[in-house]
């Protein structure tokens, strides 16, 4: 087959498959998160004082923080899906970092130094370390499958970004179960819980996302 002839087939294939990448990624996160929501509902459930928690600044700030992380991870994932990318996505890290810094500063300012350690250790660390990776599995699987359509400059980095996005989605769900709202706890344990998910994404992505 000569190249001109191949071009005829490519032109004939043109209709029907041009879909924005963002929509595919969004759908994958939603589909995976739905599966995780079922696990959440069956095995975990929302914390009993959820209504009261909404009235506290720590809980609200925790939600804002995980949502800001979700935004940054989405931007990173979409950027890593491309063969060439601008650094613009990095700006989406700024809200998450600023919120984290503000939350940390506030917490340290209002709490006496003697209680920092107790807040940091919290009561749910082990649950956090298992629940977030668990809730991240389905979103990660769906994301990696959706990303096979992509053309990442680095398949491993793209996989890692999928892991970060899956972990962020899992953190949003887990935030409704977890009693530990202190920024000291959230920043420490949620981040630690995301590490294995990011690594798994990078490992699988390195092979699966090659093109």
């Amino acid at each position: 087959m000569k190249t001109d002839q191949l071009v005829s087939s490519l032109v004939a294939d043109r209709p029907g498959s041009a879909r924005p990448l963002g929509r595919a990624v969004g759908r994958a996160v939603l589909a995976g998160a739905l599966v995780s929501l079922v696990i959440f509902a069956v095995e975990f459930g929302p914390r009993v004082d959820l209504a009261a928690a909404f009235a506290t600044w720590r809980f609200d700030l925790k939600l804002v923080l995980v949502l800001a992380s979700l935004l940054a991870a989405s931007a990173a994932c979409l950027a890593m899906a491309r063969p060439v990318t601008t650094g613009r996505w990095r700006w989406t890290l700024l809200p998450a970092l600023l919120i984290a810094a503000a939350a940390l500063a506030t917490e340290l300012a209002v709490l006496p130094a003697g209680t920092w350690e107790a807040r940091l250790v919290g009561s749910n660390a082990l649950v956090c370390l298992t629940a977030i990776p668990l809730f991240a599995l389905a979103p990660l699987g769906a994301l990696l499958l959706a990303m096979r359509r992509a053309a990442p400059a680095s398949p491993a980095l793209a996989g890692a970004a999928c892991g970060a996005l899956a972990a962020a989605a899992a953190a949003v769900i887990y935030a409704f179960h977890c009693f530990d709202d202190s920024p000291l706890f959230v920043l420490t344990w949620y981040s630690l819980a995301a590490i294995p998910v990011v690594l798994l994404g990078a490992l699988v992505g390195r092979r699966l996302l090659r093109w």
Binding site: T3, L6, V7, A12, S17, R82, W211
Partner: protein
Amino acid sequence: MSDPEDLSALMRAARKGDDEAYRRLLLRVASWLRAVASRGLAAAGRPNADCEDIVQETLLAMHLKRDTWDETQPLQPWLRAIARHKLVDHLRRRGFTDHVDIDDHSDTLAAPASADEGSAFDARQMLASLPERQRRIVEGISIEGQSARDVGSRMGMSEGAVRVTLHRALRALAVAYRKDRT
């Protein structure tokens, strides 16, 4: 690439359903790729016989991954990244691991390339790796120059079914290229 605005505009038109714009774009990119692949092979000390394979594999990748182009950005950096990726991949499969850089001679698109440089032999082999139905559809459209509808009526399939099978065939071809190490 001589006329940056033009290539991006062609791709934008193609996305909106302009088949002729898409054909023009692919042909222009093919002749640019031919020059890039040729230089890459020479730099790696490989025979030029693989050139048209690289051109076709890269065109396929560009086609199948075209959703990854961000419309707010110019098309060429995206094209160049795909071409570099495929050239490096092709050479690596053949044991060549040195650094390959195509940025230095990216302005060679202007060079006119004759349309008949395609190496019929290798591409035939790739087609032969496809399942029967997929292969007949690609051959009908590409080699016999038929429309999807004509191929469909000849094979007793709807035009839509032909297009779905064609898309699978192109994805399978891309996979076949990626596994090819000869």
